[in-house]
């Protein structure tokens, strides 16, 4: 089976670099599946899980926005943060989720709705990724 090298880099350092058979992720414009030999592509990512398949196993990463650069044999994901399930602090994500939900419900003018919504999506994404893998 052909593979492609996936590297995930964030400002705080590289998160992952390994060979996989398939990458599925959610770009801003919709779901994308990348197989080896894909044409060169650049696409912004949404806050979502990136799924990396190799054989029968599947690894997941919680990726917070950013974008991906695809070459036939290499996928580079550049995000402001990306976490493996084992690195996710579930308690903190839960707290962040509750805080964001409270903010959204309060509907007060002085709260930045967009930011609260983004925070909620990040928290849900983290919880989602950490729960599937267990």
């Amino acid at each position: 089976m052909k593979t492609l090298t996936v590297s995930v880099v964030t400002p705080d350092g590289p998160v992952l670099e390994d060979d996989y058979e398939m990458v599925s992720c959610k770009a801003e414009s919709g779901e994308l599946g990348i197989l080896p030999g894909h044409i060169p592509l650049v696409a912004p990512l949404s806050i979502n899980a990136v799924r990396l398949k190799r054989g029968n196993t599947e690894d997941k990463l919680a990726v917070n926005g950013g974008f991906m650069e695809v070459r036939p044999d290499k996928v580079t994901i550049l995000a402001q943060s990306a976490e493996k399930p084992s690195d996710i602090d579930i308690e903190r994500a839960k707290q962040a989720k509750e805080r964001a939900e409270r903010r959204l419900q309060s509907r007060q003018d002085h709260i930045d709705m967009l930011r609260a919504e983004l925070a909620l999506r990040r928290a849900l994404n983290r919880l989602n990724v950490s729960s599937i893998s267990r």
């Binding site: 400002p11 705080d12 350092g13 414009s29 592509l41 696409a43 974008f67």
Partner: protein, 289 residues
């Protein structure tokens, strides 16, 4: 001349100070090593993002973005990276001096510029000199995460996007080596000089852009600008720890010199006292004979 006891107590207190400064020197040395590591960890990210930005910017035919275009400058933004505390030698004053000169040189009135401060010293300086501050952040820690500075970086980029400022300079101490830091001023926005760095990239294919170049640029450029700001902060932090290490080293050395001098004086005074006693005793004996 000071009494023996006075000199002794000065020696003791100087010794204590030396202990503290040498401990601080070691702390700064380890912080500097950590900061260097952070800078290294950040490098792949910054390189890659620069590569992609350069590629899109140079190949883009009709895609444009305000961050790539020069516009008439009505207001200039200066981002100043300083430390939160002193004890770092000339680290802060070098930057602030250079900032002050720049402003004096370039601007007639306060309407023409605004300042974004990172670190307490810069903030206090601007407050004292009554310079306009647009944004400020204090207490970002010794090893800042991207999350810590994300907000000020994106707010600063937003200032440019909202046309509050028409160009943005960043002033920081560039880390040359552990004993040398250099005040650096870089023009951050508009992004004009990306092509320069891009000659070593190995693009042979044209990219597909999903959904299109315009939208990619909209995501990419703010992220790029933020990454440049983060890079400068990491660089500044490494310089700060290096400067603090050098300052503490010279403080420790000076304390050692002072202790030597004081010990010499102490011994002289002690010897003088003994000599005097002997003279008095032998004088007394001579008087009795």
């Amino acid at each position: 001349m000071a009494s023996l006891r006075d000199i002794q107590s000065r020696i003791n207190s100087t010794k204590k100070t030396r202990k503290i400064t040498s401990a601080m020197q070691m702390v700064s040395a380890s912080k500097m090593a950590k900061a260097e590591q952070n800078t290294k960890a950040f490098e792949p990210y910054s390189k890659k993002i620069q590569e992609v930005v350069a590629h899109i910017a140079s190949s883009a035919t009709d895609a444009t973005h305000p961050m790539l275009e020069k516009r008439e400058v009505k207001k200039t933004g200066y981002m100043v990276i300083t430390a939160d505390k002193g004890l770092v030698g000339a680290y802060n004053s070098n930057i602030l001096k250079s900032l002050y000169h720049k402003i004096q040189e370039r601007h007639q009135s306060k309407e023409d510029y605004t300042i974004i401060t990172i670190g307490r010293k810069g903030y206090e300086f601007c407050k004292k000199m009554d310079l306009p501050i647009a944004q400020s952040i204090i207490g970002i820690g010794d090893q800042p995460d991207f999350a810590d500075i994300k907000q000020i970086a994106s707010e600063t980029v937003q200032l440019y996007a909202d046309e509050e400022i028409d160009e943005l300079y960043i002033l920081y101490n560039h880390y040359v080596s552990a004993i040398s830091q250099q005040v650096t001023t870089t023009k951050l926005l508009p992004i004009t000089d990306i092509e320069e760095h891009s000659n070593n990239t190995s693009f042979h294919d044209e990219y597909e852009y999903e959904p299109n170049e315009q939208q990619i640029l909209e995501v990419l450029l703010p992220q790029y600008a933020e990454s440049l700001i983060y890079g400068a902060i990491l660089d500044g932090k490494a310089s700060e720890h290096a400067a603090s290490m050098t300052a503490m080293k010279s403080a420790t050395d000076n304390a050692g010199e002072l202790i030597d001098k004081l010990t010499l004086t102490y011994n002289r005074v002690r010897q003088a006292a003994i000599t005097q006693e002997i003279t008095e005793i032998s004088g007394g004996v001579a008087a009795l004979e």
